[in-house]
Amino acid sequence: MKMLNVLKADRGGQIFLLLLLLIAVVVPLLNQFTTADNPLHISTYTVALLGKYLAFALLAVAVDLVWGYLGILSLGHGAFFALGGYAMGMYLMRQIGERGVYGDPLLPDFMVFLNWDSLPWFWHGFDMFWFAMLMVMVVPGVLAFVFGWLAFRSRVTGVYLSIITQALTYALMLAFFRNEMGFGGNNGLTDFKDILGFSLQEDSTRIALFVASALALALGYLACRLIVTSRLGRVAVAIRDAEDRTRFTGYKVEHVKLAIFTFSAVLAGIAGALYVPQVGIINPGEFSPLNSIEIVIWVAVGGRATLYGAAAGALMVNYGKTYFTAALPEVWLFALGALFVLVTIFLPKGVIGLFRAKDKQT
């Protein structure tokens, strides 16, 4: 019942969740019960692709929570996403076991290649699924907490905060590129075999991951919506619009920012963990500052401060990316840049803003 309360007066959100439910049911059905020559058939490749989009959509929702409602333009959310992804990747690596190229029962291939003779301490425990899933949330959460505590306490705001989030993800990228870090260096983690005993190559596993992504997106949306509709959400918007006023009203602005920023980082980590088994690889490229900027573009295109708009933006832009990078690879980055400029100038409320404006008129 509480869930329904959260969605009351949120027509966009209701439509969004219905559509999500629809594709979570229809896509697996079309994949399983139609043959390849049927025009409605959805290939397993497409299912995994859609699952990846849904993970991106969850990431976009996480960014919208801090950018749209709290006014923190984070250009480093890709880092939390990648950390979640690495935690999942470490679990998947440990599942390979003796099936690796070198057949070492304990050490992943890249460690054998580097002549390491034992597992580094931080790789212990990742053979257990529950521990890895815990780390998917804890590692990005702790990093966001420490980073946020330092940044918000020093009252770093606006563009300066954006720049240091960018530096954060860049520093992590450089660190993860190093072989000595123990995360596979340049190549990252790949060659995954199975998850919880199910082969990643199986259709059924791919469908399960797709459905899990849809479920995570729906739950993530509801959790963000719960925050946004609570008094804490109104305090967040108050901080976005008049930070000093909020402080003199008696709210500890730093604590509110820290709590929401950390929660958002945890969501981004979960998105990363869903992303990795569906694309089959995680490497330091995911920490690239460009990735984090792209997330912001998804949110801007979809529409800030709506949550479902961010998810829609992520789906639209990524579909465009898949299409363009296949059809006209050299055009994509220009198209992305142009899209951002055009949306900022002509659609300040994003694509969702178009529908909402109509809503209000009628």
Partner: protein, 280 residues
Amino acid sequence: MKALDQLRNTMRRDRVFDFMLQTSGLEVDVSHGTILYLEDISVSFDGFKAINNLNLYIDAGELRCIIGPNGAGKTTMMDIITGKTRPDTGSAYFGQNIDLLHLTEPDIAQAGIGRKFQKPTVFESHTLFENLELAMAGDKRVWPTLFARLHSQQLERIDEVLETIGLQEHRYQLAGSLSHGQKQWLEIGMLLMQDPKLLLVDEPVAGMTHQEMDRTAELLTSLAGQHSVVVVEHDMDFVRSIARKVTVLHQGSVLAEGSMNEVQNDPRVVEVYLGEQGEA
């Protein structure tokens, strides 16, 4: 022997260490009738002395007006009281027991000092109702705020304040759409919701028409008594209409204090302030 004495003194069983004293969440103690003590406060920005050896006492329940030419240090003084600026020297106490110099802005607000900014600042993308809801006194930590629900008493309180500031019919309007004067009132309303013991009001009638000014004067006068109110204002007519006691600041310290008449006839005041504007 000296070291031994020191040790004995440290180990005394009735001794209370400073760090053991509770600094936040205290109830303000005004049993001596004074709610704000500012003593020997000085602060300088890049060598410019914005506040110079300022001494100011505000009585509980008093309505005090503070006037002074531009750059006299009025806003800086408010910044010090509310924790935004830390003075170089001096002490600031709220009641007898709360040391303002060791508290953060939200702690000071929660202790019972409300502040209205010079430029009216309200939460523009929230409705008036939500503005007042957010300002309402209560537990403002993160977790309780996440699960906060409005009780009927609190609803009544919001209605009451909306009526006091005369904006009932704008209840569900966004605060951003209000006129300048209405925003001033809303901000005063938000202060009332905070239920402060001491209100610091910076230029409450800037940009108001004469009727609006009269209503503001009425409102502030009615607040004095249950609350202590400190008003910083440039508009002399307005100050004359509400002031019982006026403090004149000049170059960061108190130049004169007394009733409006006494202050106006003080030759030093005439020279630095009223003289400049003629008979304002």
